[in-house]
Symmetry: C2
């Protein structure tokens, strides 16, 4: 029955990803298969990497891997196998970063904050003064709380202490101001289905020269598939026809390629501004309804996902069901410790549009009246 339902009803995805897709992006998926190698593929593939570099605002090497975003985080931590890391954790995806790192790093210190609480730069600095770390890792857009962890001061600290800067930009890249080269990020991970505006299935990663230098050797990295050195070796050895170790999902590349084109049609900065504007519009409306934003300090509002807490007896589940049944709109509940506490609205890429967010607001207003 549910199988039929998903064929018939076109829900509006206002969840924190996968995002609503532009029909043009979706149409790309419908192309016939082509080989993932040889001259039919090579130009197209290299073009896609160049476009991605532009979104990352980097001259660094970039890779696109068939996996979810966590796959590229795994590849990053694997490549730093045996090193000593400082990890900032203020939400489910900070926790995930720790979980993944714990399989690879030799020593890990976690600065743990309650979900939604921000990191004090002096505190981070103290840790870096007291100990010699190889890397500092942080989530840029914390999807579980709708919080942005600001990168600028952390970037300066990493440069000063000569520590590798690892950033999970899965839910921010393409929707939130982020410049890999300016911030000196050594490993910057993202994924196709969030603010980049494509469908799920691809992870992306930008790696600095310093990142490469300090990486473990191919045989010292546990694993083969999520081993960046393996990818680097194939890039060299099979560069003329197949510069990656595996079969690539060509259709997901078609869609991502188009989504990246759309980013430049709009303009990257205009896109950042649009995401901010939509976030403000939504947050203002929520507060007018007496709904509290989960992130109290507006400086830390993530422009791609908003979390909020309903007043009184109203439950997130109630709101989710109401919006789905009455308006055909999907919003999300919380994850991890916030599962029953907050509801979350995604507004990224295609779904960060006024008319779509107005529908969400109208639905919430109606829900608050019942």
């Amino acid at each position: 029955m549910d199988t039929e339902e998903l064929i018939v009803i076109k829900y509006q995805l206002s969840i924190p990803g996968p995002t609503e897709c532009d029909p043009e992006v979706l149409n790309e998926l419908n192309r016939p298969s082509i080989p993932h190698y040889g001259n039919l593929w090579m130009d197209y593939y290299l073009e896609t990497l160049q476009k991605l570099q532009k979104v990352y605002q980097t001259e660094n090497s970039v890779f696109i891997m068939p996996s979810s975003g966590s796959g590229a985080l795994d590849a990053t931590m694997a490549s730093l196998n045996g090193k000593k890391g400082l990890i900032l954790n203020n939400g489910t995806f900070g926790e995930r970063l720790y979980e993944i790192a714990s399989h690879y790093l030799k020593e890990i210190t976690v600065i743990k904050k309650d979900p939604g609480e921000w990191f004090l730069i002096e505190e981070v600095e103290k840790y870096l003064k007291k100990n010699r770390y190889d890397l500092l890792a942080v989530v840029h857009g914390e999807t579980s709380t709708g919080m942005v962890n600001h990168l600028e001061e952390l970037s300066k600290l990493c440069a000063k202490k000569d520590v590798l800067f690892v950033v999970d930009a899965i839910s921010s890249l393409g929707g939130v101001e982020l410049s890999v080269d300016k911030l000196g990020i050594d490993f910057c991970v993202s994924a196709s289905q969030k603010a980049l505006g494509s469908v799920p299935g691809l992870s992306t990663i930008a790696i600095s020269a310093k990142g490469w230098e300090r990486m473990a050797s191919e045989s010292d990295i546990p694993g083969w598939y999520l081993n960046l050195r393996t990818w680097q070796r194939y890039e060299k050895e099979w560069g003329d026809w197949h510069p990656f170790p595996i079969t690539l999902p060509v259709h997901l590349f078609f869609a991502l390629h188009k989504a990246l084109d759309q980013i430049f049609e709009e303009g990257l900065e205009q896109r950042w501004t649009r995401h901010k504007r939509i976030t403000e519009m939504l947050c203002t409306a929520l507060e007018q309804e007496g709904i509290s934003l989960f992130i109290k300090n507006k400086e830390f509002l993530l422009p791609t996902v908003t979390s909020a807490v309903l007043p009184g007896e109203r439950t997130s589940e109630g709101l989710q069901t109401y919006l789905k049944e009455e308006y055909g709109i999907l919003v999300a509940g919380g994850v991890g410790p916030l599962r029953k506490k907050v509801f979350r609205i995604g507004h990224m890429a295609y779904s960060a549009q006024e008319h779509l967010i107005k529908r969400v607001i109208a639905g919430i207003k109606a829900f608050m009246k019942i």
Copy 2:
């Protein structure tokens, strides 16, 4: 220019994967995104797993992971971290199996044969008598040579010696007779884009109870993403709404689901027979043209990929270019040590059809006349 070319020309894919896709499968990709969790997704997801179990002919647990086939091989070897393995290698993908295993296993013995040469069961037995191995790993369909490594005798050996049986069925599952439970395979890996008939991007794996029992613990498996224990844990802990650790590429699932349906519409055994018939048709025609099959002993012909060697001065590259330019048909050259020596024709899933293989044969005949 190549980018435009691939939009305009619809090539016939007679390569060893990705395979030509049925238009109905391709159309599934064009559906709007849906969340990869919750009640909209769960029935659909579980149904897909059940269909996959039927193709594997198993009651074992199955998983579908966002990665190429090598990703699931990596996850398999990771889960056997620290164990002692015997690996059979008679081609590029046997070599790949070794490469991946070498990152995880404590000790590895490789029985290496020249590409296309088969394994003598007495020889394998000798190794198993001399040493105590935890696992034996073999490629079922060796894509690089067009050879099938028969599993029945190996299966009996593994049972007799109580050794885990690991099979790479990436280019065979769905096109070549294979029954996981009958053969007592403990880890059976495949991928979406070969004989299953879908697009690339998903790997699949069936794991026996014995496989689970002897697997390393979650923290003893290096890595998180390709860690089967992590997948198992999420299946238990998040079973009611999100029984996997990551975002799933829903569109690739749509396509795979439809491709699996088509397998049962045709009938699994009928499908195996069709692949055999098409292989015989092609091989007979090649030999009539004075082209030698790379696999001399017809018992070992893989029903999804055929490798052959052109007589005289004719090159595989020449044939590839001719078929592409004159007939719009793509066939492949060799890989690894056979790169310039053989050409390879894929005939799997949708591409294993008489009219398509007749086009290939007609093209080759014309090429042999010039």
